[in-house]
């Protein structure tokens, strides 16, 4: 029974991608258009484009910068978000400023950041990613902390939980559903910024490589890059889901029971 359910799930997950790939394959099979090469050609180009050298010097460094930038955003977002959520004064002080920074699209900051951190440096790219990712995490952390169940805080207080225990056992877990939601938004922003941050002043990196293919009219190679980006996105979201299922197991379980009741 469970095996059948699992099979059903696999079929459901893969059905649409298979259909789309098949449609692409058939639609472009006889294509002579320069910009729409047959999918067959693109697939054939894939291994010769993404060689070990490219992985080592373009893809992995880009992913590394994404990882660092995202981690910085996560730590800063949760730390500042929690502090702002807990303090009325801090909230009053920062709210308008936060709204301003949140409204500024991070890509326009790329040249500005580059100006301060060096045009070709890794730091400017990491900085761009971190700065773009931090807002959804921070704002969700503020909301998560503010939305904590007051009875839980009363309970923590009557049992005289100390500052640190209150933070780690009560406040952060309580805010975690919102923080995770913010982190999920931030991840897709991060992937976009990983590419965008390489559009200026970079000659290596996943994004830079794809742009070079574009500019040199290496169209099948460009397509392989786009496909690779998509696959990376899928892999990251699967990874994210796995972590989320661990961290928020209690939350999903509770919601399921509440909905069932």
């Amino acid at each position: 029974m469970t095996a059948r359910l699992a099979l059903r799930k696999v079929v459901m997950t893969l059905a649409l991608p298979v259909v789309l790939v098949a449609a692409w394959w058939i639609a472009t099979a006889d294509s002579t258009s320069f910009f729409w090469p047959p999918l067959e050609d693109i697939v054939r180009t894939f291994p010769e484009t993404w060689t070990a050298d490219r992985w080592l010097h373009d893809v992995l460094p880009s992913l590394g910068r994404l990882g660092i930038g995202y981690a910085v955003a996560l730590v800063a977002g949760i730390a500042f978000g929690t502090a702002i959520g807990l303090s009325k004064t801090l909230r009053a002080l920062t709210e308008p400023t936060l709204e301003f920074f949140r409204a500024v699209p991070p890509p326009v900051l790329v040249p500005v950041i580059a100006l301060f951190t060096g045009y070709t440096s890794s730091l400017s790219k990491v900085g761009t990613i971190a700065l773009g990712c931090v807002w959804p995490i921070l704002l969700n952390a503020v909301d998560g902390v503010r939305g904590l169940e007051p009875v839980l805080l009363d309970t923590a207080q009557t049992y005289r939980l100390g500052r640190w225990r209150r933070l780690t056992y009560v406040i952060l877990p309580g805010a975690s559903p919102r923080i995770v939601a913010g982190a999920r938004q931030a991840l897709s922003i991060g992937v976009i910024l990983m590419v965008i941050s390489e559009l200026f002043g970079a000659n290596r990196g996943l994004g830079a490589t794809i742009v070079q293919f574009q500019r040199s009219f290496a169209v099948p190679q460009m397509w392989t890059g786009i496909i690779l980006l998509g696959l990376i996105g899928v892999a990251l979201s699967v990874l994210f889901r796995l972590i989320e299922n661990r961290v928020l197991a209690w939350y999903h379980g509770q919601r399921e029971i509440e909905r069932g009741a």
Binding site: D154, Y159, S176, Y251, Q254
Partner: protein
């Protein structure tokens, strides 16, 4: 308006004077407490004046019409809410924040348990804060969960349990904490009638076994009379004490015989009438009904069994 000391005028105290409460016997003293909620341009007087004491090891119920400031009183006593006037003392120490040695069981059981922890972790967390060693924490948690009949649910999460079981977890957490004073804020208001009867007996049992001082807030008159050694009847807002009713029922209580005891009926009727008067806005300085003397049916022997 100062019905202060625990012993009401009509104590039929037959036991030896040795057990009369010495001043040190008072676990919880509420002295001239007032509470007014201040909001810009508006202030609401919740508690006008409350004055009472709970002796160590006593189980006192607080009952009043809805909106009588019962929860406000409990939050003041527990140190969660700042007083506007007067003082609360626990074991002679003024309460300015939640004091050590006090545990609170809230009405919203589902929301007072940490859903991200298992039942056992919930029970153990306050013990961790107390700095107890792991083995000691485990033992206390196990014993407390056994005492509330949840020995096998330690690894479950609270939301996997029924409402009554969740409130048991909250009680177990309070018991494991080994408080000297246990405050309960309408803890059974949201559970079904049968579960409620079970939980009432559980509270009586634990109270007898642990010798803990209990202040139990409820809106349920039957529950108050069934559980309490005394029932403090509150007026409506702004709150004062209507009457401090001594419950002279035998100490040994059970749902069937106690509730069919004629004296139980009298006490319930008396408290009911007080609540009705309170609802109508009557204050204690008015002409209040008197509780009938216990008749011959309640023998002195039974009362002696009631001696604490």
């Amino acid at each position: 308006m100062s019905i202060t000391r625990p012993a009401p005028a009509r104590t039929r105290r037959k036991e030896s004077p040795m057990t009369a409460p010495a001043p040190t016997d008072v676990a919880l003293a509420v002295r001239g407490v007032t509470k007014t909620y201040e909001a810009p341009g508006r202030s609401v007087e919740a508690i006008r004046h409350l004055d009472f004491a709970v002796r160590s090891g006593e189980l006192v119920c607080v009952v009043g019409p809805s909106g009588a400031g019962k929860t406000t009183l409990l939050r003041c006593v527990s140190g969660l809410l700042e007083l506007s006037g007067g003082s609360v003392e626990l074991d002679g120490e003024p309460v300015t924040g939640p004091p050590p040695g006090m545990a609170v069981v809230f009405q919203e059981y589902g929301r007072s348990l940490f859903p991200w922890m298992t039942v056992r972790q919930n029970v153990e967390l306050p013990l961790k804060e107390k700095g107890l060693a792991k083995a000691e924490r485990k033992r206390l948690a196990r014993e407390a969960l056994e005492a509330v009949g949840l020995a096998d649910s330690g690894d479950a999460h609270p939301w996997q349990l029924s409402g009554g079981m969740q409130q048991r977890v909250a009680i177990a957490r309070a018991v494991a904490y080994e408080p000297t004073v246990l405050l309960m804020d309408e803890p059974f208001a949201a559970v079904d009638a049968q579960t409620r009867a079970d939980l009432e007996d559980l509270v009586r049992r634990l109270w007898e076994r642990l010798g803990v001082t209990v202040l139990f807030v409820t809106h349920d008159i039957d529950e108050a009379v069934y559980l309490g050694e005394r029932v403090l009847v509150l007026s409506n807002r702004p709150t004062v004490l209507m009457e401090d009713v001594r419950v002279d029922l035998p100490r040994e209580r059970d749902q069937l015989t106690t509730r069919s005891d004629p004296r139980f009926g009298e006490l319930r009727g008396h408290v009911y009438e007080l609540i009705q008067r309170a609802k109508a806005g009557q204050r204690p300085d008015g002409d209040l009904p008197a509780l009938p003397e216990p008749d011959a049916l309640t023998t002195d022997a039974e009362l002696e069994g009631n001696a604490s």
